[in-house]
């Protein structure tokens, strides 16, 4: 299969590739959102434990 054939996908290229692109975007976005939420909670928790240890 040539590159042109791959991209064309028998005239369905725009449908096929947009579906793969959107799915990849959802996969990447979910990893990023989960990582961001974990990092944020870790930051909050670190700050809290630091404050607790300073108080005691």
């Amino acid at each position: 299969m040539s590159l042109k054939e791959m991209l064309d996908m028998g005239d369905y290229g725009v449908y096929v590739w947009s579906c793969y692109g959107l799915t990849l975007a959802v996969l990447v976005l979910n990893v990023w959102l989960a990582k961001r939420s974990l990092a944020e909670q870790q930051r909050h928790a670190r700050r809290r434990t630091q404050m607790n240890s300073e108080q005691s």
Binding site: M6, A45, S53
Partner: protein, 245 residues
């Protein structure tokens, strides 16, 4: 076995276990995603009827099955949390919801793009499409309900009822193409006795479905860890676990 479950329901143990499992789940998902995509886009033969457009199933079907699987996981976790009063189970349900919602969106959007060349329409109020849209509203309702409570325990209880009641929609989505005359095509691989799909087209689909499940596991690990930290605000184990992560 019970002992292991009991141990796993302890937040510090679950936090550490999720952290250890995450890279294994993630990288095996990435490898399988690559293999499945090559299989689906390059190696699988063209469909005699749908031509190359059929290759959309390799992202559409795994997204759809994940959207149903995640809701089931969420409802079971919420049920376990309600019956045995295990807080971690509620945390699992809360962590799973946004991931499920995203995959329901992916299912609806890829399905719509798939529908355009195959059916000549982006959307039809068909049983399969409508019940999948209701699934999205259930996810959004679950998350909105949780967000409306300041008290985590009250949020857990109220949202668990919604998750459990809403699970009735899961078999409706799954069997809608069998029960009603639907524009959506019937099942191809759930007929285990005789799948109506040839082996060279089937294996990339199965690989992709497994990859999506492992991916869900990996993302759930991160989301669950964040949810545990949010709940265990002042727990004494936090300091030690945070210095390790």
């Amino acid at each position: 076995m019970w002992l292991w479950f009991h141990k796993l329901s302890s937040p510090p143990y679950a936090y550490r276990t999720a952290g250890l499992m995450r890279p294994w789940l993630f990288w095996s998902a990435v490898l399988l995603l690559i293999a499945g995509t090559v299989g689906g886009l390059v190696l699988a033969p063209e469909d005699y009827q749908q031509k190359d457009a059929f290759r959309i199933i390799y992202v559409h079907v795994p997204s759809a099955s994940l959207s149903l699987m995640i809701y089931t996981v969420m409802a079971v976790a919420a049920g376990v949390g309600m019956i045995w009063r295990i807080k971690l189970a509620h945390a699992v349900a809360a962590a799973a919801a946004p991931i499920g919602a995203w995959f329901t969106v992916a299912t609806l959007v890829t399905g719509s793009i798939y529908g355009r060349p195959m059916w000549g329409t982006w959307w039809e109020w068909d049983p399969r499409l409508t019940s999948e849209l209701i699934l999205l509203f259930l996810y959004l309702g679950y998350m909105a309900l949780r967000a409306s409570f300041d008290d985590t325990q009250r949020a857990d209880r109220a949202s668990a009822i919604l998750a459990i009641v809403g699970v009735v929609n899961v078999p409706i989505v799954k069997y809608s193409v069998v029960w009603w005359n639907s524009l959506h095509q019937g099942p191809s691989i759930s007929k285990l006795a005789a799948p109506s799909i040839v082996g060279s087209m089937l294996w990339p689909l199965l690989v992709m479905m497994l990859a999506f499940m492992l991916y869900f596991g990996a993302v759930l690990c991160d989301r669950l860890r964040a949810e545990i930290l949010r709940r265990e605000r002042n727990a004494s184990w936090l300091g030690q676990s945070l210095s390790q992560s």
